[in-house]
Subunit: 376 residues, 2 copies
């Protein structure tokens, strides 16, 4: 805890054991893990694993050519090939150049920074309550999936093949935008059909807030995704990936730190406490109570509040106007309830895993007070 | 130490004080600091400060246009403008997409990854001993500086202006390649003349190994560089920058973690111990002894060893052939001396700051044994 060793070069004797213990307890059916320090770096490095695997498939058993070796060093194709990662409007995947090229939330995150010409597909925007809008929402799914297929075809045609697709199980920064299990099953099919790889960014959704350890567990995918990235609740960053995404040579995905052993000890403890205190069950129960109360408020204040959504305590609702949304956030804060804004209209909950039913009651009382105040 | 707060959102009450205490003790004549977790992220974010300042100069007092706001989100100009950072052949600045676009050491770090068309200039490659090659080395300086000017002109002309130049005070991974104070003074002039910004990457050279806290202190620059990035010995990452490089609006350079408060406590302690134990003086003394011994060995084994170079204990020498260099490294390790390879021929020393004269004697004895063995 009081040192930061260069793990990439000198992993301590117990480091592989500790990492393995983490993997074996929380891995989303993926055998390999790579540790970083933040979500952006996790996505950046996961993209590399994707590019390596994509090019290996193309190259077969041939070695790198001299031309590839030479051009790679000076940023030119074929060594630095025109490949891309497809992402979605409203996505947030971090703020380093590669991660930022897949981030499309607010202009203030991106303006004045050069970027990469990578494709951006429409993400489904559902109407709520879901039960009353099945038809419209299915149309949204189709619209998004058709665009993914079109963009893959377009970019493959213009010699910038789509090597991977990155997606959040729930778009968090973008507005707590959900898509259905069926949508993600179809998305995975399209990605596989096109020889690309699917990366789930669980930086916000991972770690228990949704009531499952990984949010994509809700999607009943027939096979696991190719990579799952994480950070935030894990106190470090990193990603799980398949054997197929393992680089074939050392030092291709590498850095000095490769995480931080102190943070791995913290993660081990987080996982142990989650288990001992049944925190996933707690999230499900507290979340159910909170969501139920939000539905009641949505009915009571239907002129200004709608679209209650989300699993576990990973909940959100909309306020009809952006300025009014900001006022509600402000007033909640004054009453001691800290929520976040997301998208233009969303208010999102991100309580700790120890948030319980009686906390939900307090939040709901305070929210009712605020809604009454602003609804005069 | 047992928590990792989201400093970007909720800095603890004492965090600004701690950060200020670090700044006031070690800042390289630059007033602002931004903390990250690694060198790559430090460079990535410093590039953003550069791009922001460059575009602000161009835009004047006008606000962003709607077109800029709209196009930025989808990675297209003018919102995501064609700007670039010039870097040098043999440079290493990290492994995330933006940092990697300025890294040009080994193909294995870059092959198969899409990159940005950014200019790469020749870095001076000196002959040693310096005193005997003043003329040739001055030619190297000129060659490099002329290429920097040419590339800036070329990229400005093809509408991808050079907003910044990043350079290591000593190219580390690339071979412990030094350039003269005069070279860096001229480089700074060229950068200023072209309205660009100069970033020193002191990730390897910063923190005392050269006998000064910052290696660029050796260059007697008339004014400070625009930004100085660091990591490694600092146990976290980050960068100092000028007032001019300060973003004009919040959330433009930002992330969840903004470093790690535990690591700032460690850095405070590192700085205190360096001062209490006069470690910079120690590095100068131990380095002088080690370098003197290396000169002797270079004379004794001139058929296989040459080009002893570097300040403080940040020293290196060459072995005439790559395979022999690897053998020497291997044999040193077997005798308990851990050195690193750099470039094709280099062997570099990176001892801790507490490395003393008597350690230098041990290293020199072991190195003499190895050189004798391989010189048979």
């Amino acid at each position: 805890m009081i040192n930061r060793p260069a793990l990439g070069v000198f992993p301590g004797e117990d480091q592989p054991k500790r990492v393995h213990s983490v993997v074996s307890q929380i891995a989303p059916c993926l055998p390999k893990i790579n540790l970083m320090m933040c979500g952006a770096c996790a996505n950046e490095q996961a993209f590399k694993n994707v590019f390596i695997a994509y090019q290996r498939k193309k190259r077969g058993k041939k070695d790198f050519t001299d031309e590839e070796k030479h051009t790679a060093v000076i940023n030119q194709p074929p060594g630095a090939p025109n490949l891309c990662i497809l992402s979605f409007a409203g996505a947030f995947h971090g703020r380093t150049t590669g991660a930022l090229a897949t981030t499309h939330t607010k202009f203030i995150h991106k303006i004045d920074f050069p970027s990469l010409d990578w494709p951006v597909a429409h993400f489904p925007l559902y109407k709520y309550p879901l039960g009353e809008h099945e038809r419209e929402n299915a149309v949204e799914d189709k619209k998004s999936l058709a665009q993914v297929e079109d963009l893959i075809a377009t970019y493959n045609k213009k010699d910038t093949p789509v090597a991977g697709v990155i997606v959040e199980p729930i778009q968090s920064e973008g507005g707590n935008n959900e898509a259905s299990p069926k949508y993600f099953q179809e998305l995975q099919k399209i990605v596989k059909k096109n020889n690309a790889y699917l990366v789930f960014d669980e930086v916000q959704t991972g770690g228990g807030g949704t009531g499952k350890f990984w949010c994509h567990e809700y999607f009943d995918l027939p096979v696991p995704p190719d990579a799952v990235t994480f950070s935030k609740k894990f106190c470090l960053g990193g990603y799980f990936h398949s054997d197929e995404l393992t680089p074939d040579k050392p030092f291709r995905v590498f850095n000095t730190w490769m995480g931080d052993p102190g943070k791995v000890i913290m993660l081990e403890t987080i996982i142990r406490v989650m288990r001992e205190q049944d925190l996933l069950d707690n999230v499900q129960e507290a979340g159910a109570r909170l969501k139920c109360g939000l539905f009641e408020l949505e009915e009571e204040f239907s002129e200004i509040m709608n679209s209650v959504r989300g699993p576990g305590t990973f909940l959100a609702f909309n306020i009809v106007k952006p300025e009014l949304r900001d006022t509600v956030l402000q007033k909640l804060l004054q009453k001691g309830v800290l929520c976040g804004g997301c998208g233009d209209l969303g208010i999102r909950f991100r309580p700790a895993l120890i948030f319980q039913k009686h906390h939900a009651e307090i939040v709901l009382d305070k929210l009712r007070e605020v809604l009454k105040e602003v609804n005069c």
